[in-house]
Amino acid sequence: MKTPLLGLAAITLLGAIVAPRPQEKSKPEAWTVLIGGDTAGYLTPCGCVTPMSGGIKRRFTLTRSLTNGDHTLVLEAPGITSSTGRQAELKSETLAETWNAGHVDAASLSAQDLILGPAMIASVQRLSGGKLVSTSSVDTDGTPLPTSAEKGPFVVAALNNQNKADDEFSLATVLDKAARLDQTPVLLLDAPLERAEDLAKKFPALRLIVYRVSGNPPVKPQTVGKTLLVSPGEKGKHVLRILWNGESFEAYQAFDLGPDIKDDPETQRLFNRYLDRVRAEKLLEQVPRTSDTEYAGSKACQTCHAEAYNIWLKSEHSHALTTLEDQNEDADPECVSCHVVGLDSIHGFRSRKETPSLADVGCESCHGGAKLHAMKPKEFKLPKVGEASCAKCHTLDHSPNFDFLTYWPKVKH
């Protein structure tokens, strides 16, 4: 009796191995989706006034800490640059390197980014490790960008809204494929909420649309049908986290990249290299000089305005360039312009060595060029200046909490 039973058991076991198993619907896995980006050239908060928000160094600390192991999709909303020129190119290449180092899975271009030109976009793509996606057709000089990226259950498309009909045709192609493969489509969109709503209605298969907005991310995300519409805000100041439970997105959270978040060491290394490149290329020397204002230097004011001079000497303004020198940012024209006198003038600041009296924020930063006034004070009087002269540098981005009534007493003279 033993043998037949053993034989039966063996056949049954073999059957269990060979025969196709009934389809077991496995429990869907949870995924974390992290969305940053829309950097628009703001690699770092200016750093002169707290509390500044944003910066790639904080962003990648946060994304690393929010990562849910392999089950994390890291996205970069469109918006690499907002300007042209060599510094914009260096920033774009640095940003691309951080995408590679920071494990970004897909990044996208805005229409404005096309200003970088095909060769620079190709450079960004190479340095990022191929993270750029463009479902819209983009001229990259014979090296096309992938129309979508895939990770886990997701397929990521990206539109930069150049031609609505073409964009929608290309998107439909990606969505058709996603439907066949049972993938979850996500769209990075270079357009405002209105267009996102429109696309969500036209393409209900889209489960997540990342659109662009000025200012902060909305407090609560919108939904159109089953599509969640979110935006990380502008200038890389926030990171969004959403959870995908296998069926829907949930637990939306927007994180402000405030000073509580430490700098990511790897991103810091890449950013230091960017600063070295800016210095090596002598971009400070290439700043367009659009004015011919002549300056006397703060020291020249001391003779007649001793009291005001002494107040200035004790103020933060009098060592504004030192602050940048301490951070190795004294060769960066974007920073230096607000830390010296007259960077935009052919007679203005060149370097601490060449024009020492124009280093730091001086009397003439607010009162205007005073060379003639210093020579003939009665003949050439300087106009009275007020809040508007502060606003040239204390802008919303560089000095978010600037309040004239609070700040003025610190330098009142």
């Binding site: 020129g85 909420l193 000025s214 902060n216 490149r277 919303l396 978010p400």
Partner: protein
């Protein structure tokens, strides 16, 4: 108002009790209010008992491990213990002692907690504050399985929840974001433990108030409850569409139906706001918060926030979202889209730029000038149809000015910047600037071929060499670094692709070199392309 009047009558001669500071949670503020009510009705015994539930420096705690799987317990145990030690070290004078019963803080665990109705995922922590002597002051139940899929938490999450519970015991209000002891997440967020500076100040204050009340109960000193009660007439501000530079002026009214002046501080998340608000609102009064928003520095859709902090126990922090759409005052547009590169030949170059102005703005352009490169600019009124790609707008009718810029011939080759400055009659938008890139001869794009971090293996990258509209031929390619080799591929008569290959045999460290391209171009007989990288 009736309870307040009742209390006022009850404690006609009583001194006013301490007011809870902003930044404290509802539990603490309710505790202070309850103690004062008992003191004012001269029920000193019960007041002393409730005082026992208010924070003190010597704290006892107990952890119920019943629902924690054995495999997780050792890690969780270490996390809880280390967190209490962390707070003890970070806030001098505090001590935390584990006890078997009668604890101030009780930490428990549950396999899975009910769903959070806002986020639709299971709660990660449920807090039961209590003023009864029968219960712990703070009882927290930590959910082990998180998210819809039931992912198990780790020790680091237990540490975070423990830190939050200690903050709750000390009376800290929960705030969004990263605020050390005041923030937490239902998900799997992990951040290093920290005690914020502001948190330390608030804790110091809650300890002082608690001691003051304990003293009053011991000395049988009647105190009248001091609390504020805020009623906002709106909790969101939708400003609608505005022209750039407009300063909308909005008012939010806040009524105080409490017994003491309501302290109010408002923090906007943007310096574009000017807030004119009373710092206190008397009981029974309504204070108007005037909100002015300066829109001169930004355009497009705006989402901002105002944070209202009050000493109302029920709503210590109220976030008021502000939305607006700001139409740009002006735009510089090109009829060829976004390409700002202009080629200068032996006769110089001509460029046309359109300055469009919003109808609501009284911006009139007076003059235009060019700097960076010698040139002149003339300005004339214009009306026509153009797209604005940067604003995601298709072609539409616009009006403003057409600016024609003539650049003088130059001998320097490569790409240089030039700036167009338009002077207007507007005080807010007096100088408007636009940057061009001017190219003469052959230029490499990017200017420097940058490999970034690469391994010791073969690697390729390219730049484009072009001289728009002026055909040229490449005659020779040389390299100053034996590990770098350049090759060209003709893309068009006026454009080549220069591919540089690193052979992977160089030393680890900085990779530098120049690729020299000899051409038949009269303007650029030799083009040097620097190469940079870092071999790891």
């Amino acid at each position: 108002m009736i309870p307040s009047l009742f209390l006022l009558v009850l404690a006609q001669n009583a001194e006013l009790g301490p007011a809870s500071p902003t930044g404290t949670n509802a539990h603490f503020q309710l505790g202070v209010k309850t103690v004062c009510e008992l003191l004012s009705s001269k029920d000193f015994t019960r007041a002393a008992k409730v005082c026992d539930r208010l924070p003190r420096k010597s704290v006892t705690y107990r952890v119920d491990w019943a629902n924690v799987p054995a495999s997780l317990k050792p890690g969780f145990e270490r996390a809880v213990k280390n967190t209490f030690t962390f707070v003890q070290d970070g806030f001098k004078g505090t001590s935390f002692t584990p006890v078997e019963k009668g604890e101030d803080i009780l930490i428990e665990f549950a396999e899975k907690l009910p769903e959070n109705p806002d986020t639709k995922i299971p709660k990660g922590l449920v807090v039961f504050p209590s003023l009864s002597v029968q219960d712990p002051a703070i009882e927290g139940v930590i959910g082990i399985k998180r998210l819809s899929t039931g992912v198990s938490i780790e020790a680091t999450h237990v540490a975070q929840e423990t830190l939050f519970l200690i903050g709750q015991y000390f009376g800290l209000a929960e705030v969004p974001g990263f605020e050390g002891m005041s923030s937490r997440s239902d998900g799997l967020l992990t951040m290093p433990p920290a005690i914020g500076r502001f948190e330390k100040v608030v804790i110091q204050k809650t300890l002082e108030i608690s001691d003051q009340l304990r003293e009053a109960a011991k000395d049988k000193k009647p105190l009248m409850p001091a609390y504020a009660e805020a009623h906002f007439d709106t909790k969101e501000l939708a400003i609608g569409e505005l022209a750039q530079g407009d300063i909308p002026d909005k008012i939010i009214g806040i009524h105080n139906s409490g017994t003491i002046p309501m302290t109010l501080s408002i923090m906007p998340d943007c310096s574009c706001f000017r807030i004119l608000a009373p710092t206190t609102i008397e009981p029974g009064e309504t204070g108007n918060v005037r909100i002015l928003m300066n829109t001169s520095a930004f355009i497009g859709e705006q989402h901002k926030r105002l944070y209202f902090y009050t000493n109302d126990p029920a709503q210590p922090v109220t976030v008021v979202p502000v939305t607006a759409f700001v139409r740009p005052a002006y735009r510089f547009l090109l009829d060829n889209g976004l390409n700002r590169t202009i080629y200068i030949d032996e006769n110089g170059a001509k460029a046309e730029v359109y300055l469009t102005v919003d109808d609501a703005q009284d911006i009139k352009a007076h003059s235009a000038s060019v700097s960076g490169v010698p040139g002149t600019a003339t300005i004339e009124p214009w009306e026509g149809e153009l797209p604005d790609l940067a604003m995601n707008e298709g072609p539409k009718k616009r009006k403003g000015y057409k600016i024609t810029v003539l650049f003088a011939p130059t001998q320097a080759t490569g790409v240089v910047n030039a700036t167009l400055t338009v002077t207007t009659n507007s005080e807010a938008f007096k100088y408007l600037t636009f940057n061009f890139l001017l190219q003469h001869g052959i230029a490499a794009n990017p200017k420097i071929l940058y490999f970034g971090d690469i391994q010791q293996a073969e690697n390729r990258a390219y730049v484009l060499l072009d001289q728009p509209g002026r055909p040229f031929k490449v005659l020779k390619i040389e390299s100053t670094n034996p590990h770098l080799k350049g090759e060209v591929e003709k893309i068009a008569e006026d454009q080549y692709k220069l591919t540089v290959t690193y052979d992977g045999k160089g030393l680890i460290g900085a990779l530098t070199g120049d690729i020299k391209v000899t051409t038949d171009s009269k303007e650029s007989p030799v083009v040097e392309v620097p190469v940079q990288g870092n071999v790891k």
